[in-house]
């Protein structure tokens, strides 16, 4: 029997998934509270002993590999020139690499903004600006600002290639740790994610996990290889596109409702599906991730509250749900565990709202314009109307009695006709939390990871 142990050091839980590669099935899963503040190995050992208890006998795993979003995840700042162009491109690279984008800065950065970078304890700085052959004054100014500061975070330069030599000189003279990558927007509206994303992943593995105290777990596991959201994105991409002879599911969306954030992933080219739409703005990545830091079931429940209109609040009151009270309850006690029917009802309403608002921010939109040739539409962002599958994950969705009702909030809505939401997807549930684990497994065995995902996704 060949076995893998896949570990996800989450912000709250350390989750273990044991996989039998020959039978292509999950042997068991277990979790324990993440203990990164004290010693990350404690939580891991606890989860492992629970896993062994479940299995009933000791297993010698052939490989143990891990991803992590513990200790605040990977915190990044994206710096660019124009908001809608290189700044947005830089932001998308950070998100694609699995980072939390704590700060987005554009044009020439000032001292206050440099201070913000320091205050936010940023792990990696992504410095972009200018298409190749274009503006280099701004990115050079920003490099100088960073050089002058006492910021220690590694800097990834992925801006106008013409500025590379000067940037290298500036950052080397200031003894900064820096890396040179391909431009995130080499030409106008062209997005180039891979080079900077791979570099960020490398820095994460080499430096960040060490700085965060995660590295010491490598005495027990073979390696920590990815930020968790990056593992999920890889799994979702594999599930969508397939591998070799094993077919994928085609275009899909994935909603992950967590305690602090709601993440939406879409796997689709997102090109216009209607004749009279013209694509406008920066190119979209096939595998796109957006994160909403103000939408979460615990830490960020007050953010959800903000998204309710006065009329919605009053409607729920008539249904005997006090949204305001419930949101505060969850925010004030982040370890709150739902137990009564009322709790579950409120959970479902909140989760639905998270998915609704996060989807609005993720999908593309149409804007009508009257031309001499009739009505045309600008399409900004991805057209996800023809998405085949909508997948739900995250504790609140998985434990809900009616996950479809929650997930439906991510699809076509009469009140939001200009948003390009999925029209009629099939719903799937990541009941056993396989996604991040399969993202990890896919690095060695993509075909097996894909088949396991297809087997363990529950049709709703």
């Amino acid at each position: 029997m060949k076995t893998y142990l896949l570990v996800d050091f989450g912000s709250t839980f350390t989750k273990l998934t044991a996989v039998d590669l020959e039978k292509e099935e999950i042997i068991a899963t277990a979790k324990a509270i993440t203990t990164v503040e004290k010693d990350i190995t404690l939580g891991y050992k606890k989860a492992l002993s629970r896993l062994i208890d479940k299995i009933g006998y000791e297993i010698k795993f052939d490989k143990i590999t891990a991803c992590s979003s513990a200790a605040g995840g990977l915190k990044m700042v994206a710096i660019g020139l124009v908001d809608e162009l290189t700044t947005e491109a830089a932001r998308r690279v950070c998100l694609g690499a699995g980072a939390k984008v704590e700060l987005v800065l554009s044009h020439n950065i000032n001292h206050h903004e440099v201070d913000q970078i320091k205050e936010k304890n940023i792990d990696i700085i992504l410095l972009a600006g200018g298409a190749n052959g274009g503006n280099k004054e701004c990115v050079i100014h920003n490099a100088k600002q960073l050089a002058k500061s006492d910021i220690k975070a590694p800097i990834v330069f992925a801006g106008n290639k013409d500025a590379t030599d000067e940037i290298e000189e500036i950052l080397a003279a200031a003894n900064k740790e820096f890396y040179i990558c391909e431009n995130v927007m080499p030409r106008l509206n062209v997005l180039n994610i891979t080079s900077a994303k791979d570099q960020i992943k490398d820095i994460f593995v080499k430096n960040i996990i060490e700085a965060k105290g995660i590295k010491k777990v490598e005495k027990l596991v073979d390696e920590v290889v990815l930020p968790t959201p990056n593992a999920v994105l890889m799994a979702a991409e594999l599930l969508s596109t397939g591998f070799g002879g094993e077919e994928g599911l085609g275009d899909l969306m994935l909603a992950d409702v967590g305690g602090a954030t709601t993440d939406i992933y879409s796997l689709s080219s997102g090109l216009p599906t209607q004749m009279n739409a013209i694509l406008s703005g920066l190119e979209e990545p096939f595998a796109k991730r957006t994160v909403e830091g103000d939408l979460g079931m615990r830490y960020s429940s007050l953010g959800i509250l903000q998204s309710f209109t006065a009329s919605e609040l009053s409607y729920w009151k008539t249904q005997n749900v006090d949204i305001e009270l419930e949101a505060n309850k969850r925010h004030d006690d982040i370890e709150f565990i739902s137990s009564t029917d009322e709790d579950y009802i409120a959970d479902d309403i909140f989760a639905g709202k998270c998915i609704d608002v996060a989807t609005s921010r993720h999908v593309g939109t149409l804007k009508g314009v009257y031309t001499p040739m009739g009505v045309m539409y600008y399409q900004v962002g991805k057209d996800l109307t023809q998405t085949n599958y909508f997948i739900g994950t995250g504790g609140v969705v998985i434990s809900s009695k009616d996950p479809v009702a929650i997930l439906k909030n991510g699809t076509k809505m009469a009140s939001k006709p200009m948003e390009l939401r999925p029209h009629n997807p099939e719903y799937l549930l990541d009941k056993t939390y396989v996604l991040s684990a399969m993202g990890l497994l896919s690095m060695d065995y993509p075909e097996i990871a894909l088949r396991i995902m297809k087997k363990y996704m529950v049709k709703l």
Binding site: V82, A131, G134
Partner: protein, 135 residues
């Protein structure tokens, strides 16, 4: 190599002339950044900032050019594009108007060169070179 941003402004979908301009200017050795049809003032300006363009060449074929171009110079200045050249050409106003009047109005709006219908891009190359410092 000097960079020129080209495109068709407003709710205008005339794509053919836009492609001819791109082809010709590229052949003449310019770095052409084409924002395409249905482009807003911001689309031109953002592209010019990121690419450090020296010239924005606005096309308008459907008669609404005057409305679409109004305020563009001010917006350029607001965005830090102090010395950028602005050209406009095509059927830039409604109906058959006296072109000297039209040219005057567009120059007052801050456009450096204003071209009436029928002017080919080839005819303008020398002027462009001259305006961009004799390259």
């Amino acid at each position: 190599m000097k960079t020129i941003v080209i495109g068709v402004i407003g709710a205008d979908v005339h794509a053919v002339g836009n492609k001819i301009i791109e082809y010709t200017l590229t052949k003449e050795g310019f770095n052409v950044v084409n924002v395409g049809v249905l482009s807003s003032q911001e689309d031109f300006i953002n592209a010019a900032i990121e690419t450090s363009a020296s010239l924005i060449m606005v096309s308008s074929l459907y008669g609404h050019g005057e409305l679409d171009c109004r305020g563009m110079r001010e917006k350029c200045e607001e965005s830090g594009l102090d010395n950028i050249l602005l050209y406009v050409g095509g059927n830039i106003v409604v109906g058959k108007q006296d072109f000297t009047e039209v040219e005057k109005r567009f120059k007052e709006m801050g456009f450096n060169r204003v071209y009436p219908p029928g002017v080919k891009i080839e005819d303008v190359i020398d002027t462009i070179r001259e305006d961009l410092g004799g390259i």
